[in-house]
């Protein structure tokens, strides 16, 4: 299964963190830090796989892609194929690109929820559930449509209108 998905900026700031195995919240910062150390230590144009047994437990590997100012990192165990994970990162980036029209780091910074929505359409509980970028984009658009439909309520919260009508 996939153990974690991380998007970390080249400034060591996490932009997206999702753990599929329980990791104590106080440990998250250390995990990000040690992963970033590995990332920053590896030069470009080398293989994208790193063994991370010491960070995420025995048998775990990490695959990453360095794009512009971001590292996209997937951590996985022996049940996943290394090259398939690399492809999955590609798919993820493609989807982001389609959802945000030429994605850049700022899109990711300001769209915390949408990023999670996209990721959740691809991966659930560490299992890949969708690998087609069109399908994911379609689902995400559908969710946005449903949300808009649902938010027929006024922009002013109910509690305030109540106070005024009292």
């Amino acid at each position: 299964m996939i153990q974690a998905v991380m998007v970390i900026s080249t400034q060591a700031k996490p932009r997206l963190l999702k753990f599929y195995n329980f990791q104590a919240p106080e440990k998250h910062q250390d995990l990000v830090r040690s992963v970033f150390q590995l990332l920053s230590a590896s030069p470009d144009s080398v293989s994208n796989f790193v063994k991370v047994d010491t960070i995420f437990g025995p048998g775990t590997k990490m695959v990453y892609k360095h794009l512009a100012t971001l590292y996209f990192v997937f951590v996985f165990d022996s049940s996943e194929n290394e090259l398939a994970m690399l492809d999955l990162i590609q798919v993820f980036v493609e989807i982001l690109d389609r959802c945000f029209k030429n994605v850049c780091e700022l899109d990711i910074v300001f769209n915390f929820n949408k990023l999670h929505t996209i990721l959740d359409e691809m991966i659930l509980g560490g299992q890949v559930i969708e690998t087609s970028s069109e399908q994911v984009v379609k689902s995400v658009e559908e969710i946005e449509r449903l949300e808009k439909q649902s938010s027929t309520t006024s922009f002013i919260p109910k509690s305030i209108t109540e106070r005024f009508t009292r």
Binding site: F22, N48, I129, E147, I160
Partner: protein, 946 residues
């Protein structure tokens, strides 16, 4: 509402609600000051704001606060009280407003953790509601259930024991629909609590494998791949082999194929017939597929699970070599090397074919590739090529970065030292290799090199001359003394040169090297070894000197006297001896004969000037050894002086001889490696009642016995200070020491043998030009014989004898504990459900089934394979009946759940399988006694695949 304001001061005001900052505002404020301090301030401010807002009765305010809190805790690691986040999240799960609900689900799945699990049951009802069909539109409903499944599969929910119990049934209809989301969630739920979830979810999940919907079958294959991953036991998944096989031959999804291959790689070792069955489809995929990921998975499957199929292995190796040759893609190169590394030793020659490519990879810019290449090369090592490979690797050390250089050194050391130098034939080569390694610029493996230097010395007699030569080159190099990584090596070298001093060509040079000024850079422990080595050297030199006096009697004595006469005043030489001031005896004359009077004098003076100050050293280790050494020197001088005064000419050599002989006995006994079981072999002396007075030591003794000792450092204990020491005391000390050794000599022995056993070893000092030290060597050899008597070697053997104590005994005593497999909850639960449901199927068989189930449970807890065979063999009737009932039940199951479309082909398979099943069963039963591992699960496997 849970947000009853605790205090009016923190209750959200209207202003808070009206001018609440959104998540975007928060992100902007965090980015306004990117410095760490500025960010901390912004986070603290936002948190206090959120604390107020989250108590708002209004869902919109609350949800925005929750969103901000989730963001801060996820990406800014803000410490958030567990209930602060969990309560509003669970509260908002029930919101009818979709965006709020989404935020709540996101918050819950990201941030809940075991500390807040007590709250999770509060969400159970909501999850149940969202999972069940409602009046809302289909799209809406699907979306709701997707959210609920998301939470159910989150790591927090996995730790909550009762969630799966309550919600497992709600998953079933989703599984029947073949929703990939539900399949993934079901896998998580089963993994989290097998006992509760397996009875409900396993069969619907298995049915998804045969689903005509490729998304469902892919997800199911992934789910089973995940569930069968080690450390879980894959055996319970054997019954799924037919469906997986179908998928393997028909699926066109690379994802599904990869997962199916992974499951088969785990199942094939458990069921021998499986490998033959899958080898063809796997080879087809291997040749046909254009996707690298699938190709790699095929290679991995063949190399790990199908090693017996030669053609397939060759095909896979060919593909792996293509990967290795991919110059433009480091990922493929890495994976290619990784795949070759999976090959067993049987194919070492095949790997050897691409040795050039692998050696080239040692210089790759990529650490991963270098590591894998090193790993592969170490896998190729055997006793024929170890010299080539080690030489090649050591030449690579200089070209590598420090970290990898030490990886190489470590790998070479580990390979050569493996199983007591199993692969090393030429120890002279190995010893000089060790010295070369120590001298490489980046070496940080000093500990291991030092250990092996001493160990080789103790175990391999023939290697000692070369060892002493190598030690000399290490010791005389003043540059090495500055490198703190090499201290253990220098320590070992000093010990070796002291212990095997009789093989030294030039003891004077050795003493100079051991006492050179830069030794002050050494740590205390190493200095102590240095001083002790000097002690051994000087003792030996004296013994040779005295031996010569005895041999040639007056001749040397005359020489001694003439020497004194040559000096202007005879007493001057004695003065020099006493005071040690006259050091300018020509080094050239000293060099000529290390055992001449001048040489001895020179060494004594050197010792006194350099070691003398150390008797005031505040480190006890150094101080004690310095005192020992200086004490000995003083004794020698006293005798000299005594001679002078009494002018009893013949007395002098005898007194000196006596002293030197006494000292010689201190060091004469050779040290050897000690068996881990040595203690147990010592017979209890008569009159020693262990049970009464040593019973409390049992724990300590057994502890010591289990730590394998590879070498010993034995220091003579002389507790007398220089002032009070006299010859008698020394002789008492040393004789009691040798007495001790004699009595406990058994510790160093393997079996008792007579001393007059012919010595198969070539004389250790044959290569030495000097034959004057024979008497000493005889002494040493005799005692050495004692040590080595346990082993015999033929004279024709080219490889020197390596003393190797009973490691087999030790290993075999360790084995039983290592063999005990651990109980796996998942497989236990699966076994229970698969067998348990059958017990209900046929009431007439119930008694025997329960019998079987109990029996299996028992054996699974015992996990002793021999017991399993016994038990199963004694109940042949119950076994076969349960199998029949199981097969029927399984068929029924399949009948009630037929694939909607595209089922023609598989069904034909199945019916043919059913007819063939009867014969297959008999065959299987005959096999049962030889395959204890697969028996408990074997009943449910369908034979048509096999």
């Amino acid at each position: 509402m849970a947000s009853t304001p605790a205090a009016p001061a923190v209750a959200p005001s209207l202003v808070d609600t009206l001018f609440q900052r959104s998540l975007n505002d928060l992100v902007k404020s965090l980015r306004a000051d990117p410095s760490a301090a500025g960010e901390a301030v912004a986070v603290a401010r936002a948190l206090s704001e959120i604390h107020r807002e989250i108590r708002a009765p209004d869902a919109a305010t609350k949800s925005v606060a929750l969103q901000k809190l989730t963001y801060l805790s996820s990406l800014h690691f803000a410490p958030v009280g567990t209930h602060l986040l969990a309560f509003p999240a669970i509260e908002l799960l029930a919101s009818p407003h979709l965006p709020h609900k989404r935020l709540a689900y996101l918050a819950a799945s990201l941030s809940l953790h075991p500390a807040s699990l007590s709250l999770l049951p509060l969400a159970t009802h909501q999850l149940h509601k969202d999972l069940s069909p409602s009046s809302a539109g289909a799209a809406h409903q699907q979306h709701l259930s997707a959210l609920a499944l998301q939470l159910l599969a989150s790591p927090a929910a996995a730790a909550a024991p009762d969630l799966p119990v309550h919600l497992a049934h709600d998953l079933v209809p989703h599984l029947a629909r073949g929703s990939p989301r539900a399949i993934a969630a079901a896998a998580r739920v089963i993994a989290a609590s097998p006992s509760a979830a397996v009875p409900v979810l396993f069969k619907p999940l298995a049915a998804c494998l045969a689903s005509p919907d490729p998304r469902a079958s892919t997800a199911a294959a992934a789910a089973f791949c995940d569930l069968s991953a080690p450390p879980a036991d894959a055996t319970p998944f054997l019954p799924l082999a037919p469906d997986l096989y179908n998928l393997l031959t028909t699926s066109r999804s690379n994802w599904a194929l990869i997962k199916v291959l992974k499951v088969f790689a785990r199942l094939a070792p458990l069921e021998p017939r499986l490998a033959a069955r899958i080898v063809d489809p796997v080879c087809q995929l291997l040749t046909r597929s254009s996707a690298m990921s699938l190709t790699f998975e095929c290679i991995r499957t063949v190399l790990t699970a199908l090693p017996a199929h030669d053609a397939a292995v060759r095909l896979a190796i060919g593909k792996a070599k293509e990967f290795v040759a991919a110059d433009d893609d480091p990922n493929l190169r890495y994976l290619g090397l990784l795949a070759l590394g999976l090959l067993g030793p049987a194919y070492a020659s095949t790997v050897n074919d691409c040795r050039d490519a692998i050696v080239k990879s040692l210089g790759d810019a990529d650490t991963n590739i270098r590591q894998e290449a090193l790993h592969l090369i170490m896998g190729m090592v055997n006793e024929n090529n170890i010299m080539d490979i080690a030489g090649m690797l050591i030449s690579h050390v200089a070209k590598s970065d420090p970290e990898f250089a030490n990886d190489i050194l470590g790998a070479v050391l580990a390979a050569c030292g493996h199983n007591v130098y199993e692969m090393v034939v030429d120890f002279d080569w190995y010893v000089s290799l060790l010295a070369d390694m120590a001298r490489t610029l980046l070496c940080a493996q000093g500990d291991e090199i030092g250990r092996q230097l001493v160990d080789v010395g103790l175990r391999v007699r023939d290697a000692r001359p070369e060892l002493v030569r190598s030690a000399r080159t290490l010791l005389i190099d003043p540059a090495l003394l500055g490198n703190h990584f090499l201290f253990p090596v220098l320590s070992a070298a000093a010990w070796v040169s002291g212990e095997y001093v009789d093989l030294t060509k030039d003891p004077v040079e050795l003493v100079e090297a051991l006492l050179q000024p830069r030794t002050s850079l050494l740590p205390i422990s190493v200095r102590a070894v240095y001083i002790h080595a000097v002690f051994k050297v000087i003792t030996w030199c004296f013994s040779v000197y005295v031996g010569r006096l005895g041999d040639s009697g007056m001749a040397v004595d005359v020489m001694f006297d003439r020497l004194a006469a040559d000096q202007t005043v005879g007493s001057e030489s004695n003065v020099a001896l006493v005071s040690g001031e006259e050091q300018d005896i020509g080094a050239s004359t000293v060099r000529k004969d290390p055992f001449s009077h001048e040489s001895i004098l020179y060494m004594i003076n050197l010792i006194q000037t350099t070691v003398g100050p150390l008797i005031n050293c505040n480190e006890v280790e150094v101080q004690e050894r310095a005192l020992n050494l200086i004490g000995f020197v003083h004794l020698v001088r006293e005798i000299q002086e005594l001679n002078k005064r009494n002018v009893a000419d013949g007395d002098k050599p005898s007194r000196l001889e006596e002293l030197v002989k006494t000292m010689q006995t201190v060091f004469c006994q050779e040290l050897g490696p000690v068996s881990v079981n040595a203690q147990m072999k010592v017979a209890t002396p008569d009159g020693l009642i262990l049970n009464e007075n040593l019973v409390e030591l049992a724990g300590i003794v057994s502890e010591d016995d289990t730590t394998p000792s590879t070498s010993i450092f034995f220091y003579p204990c002389s507790r007398h200070s220089a002032d009070t020491r006299d010859e008698l005391a020394v002789s008492i000390d040393s004789s009691s020491l040798s007495e001790h050794r004699k009595r406990h000599g058994l510790f160093y022995l393997q079996t008792g043998k007579t001393e007059d056993e012919p010595n198969d070893y070539p004389q250790a000092n044959d290569s030495l030009p000097s034959s004057s030290n024979n008497s000493v060597n005889d002494d040493k050899l005799k005692t050495a014989e004692l040590v080595f008597a346990g082993k015999k070697s033929t004279a024709t053997k080219s490889r020197p004898k390596v003393v190797k104590l009973d490691t087999e005994d030790f290993l075999s005593s360790m084995m039983p504990s290592a063999n005990v497999p651990k109980e796996d909850p998942l497989s236990g639960a699966l076994r229970d459900v698969l067998l348990g449901s059958d017990a209900k199927a046929l009431s007439s068989q119930r008694a025997s089934d329960i019998n079987l189930e109990g029996m299996l449970n028992k054996t699974s807890s015992n996990e002793s394979s021999s017991q399993q065979i016994e038990n199963l063999g004694s109940h042949p009737a119950s076994r076969s009946s349960s199998r029949t009932s199981k097969q029927q039940n399984h068929d029924k199951e399949k009948g009630t759940n037929p694939p909607e479309s595209d089922g023609k082909e598989p069904r034909k398979h199945r019916s043919s399988g059913r007819s063939g099943h009867r014969q297959g069963k008999h065959k299987h039963r005959e096999k049962s006694s030889t395959q204890p591992d697969t028996i408990p699960q074997a009943p449910v496997i369908q034979d048509f695949l096999l």
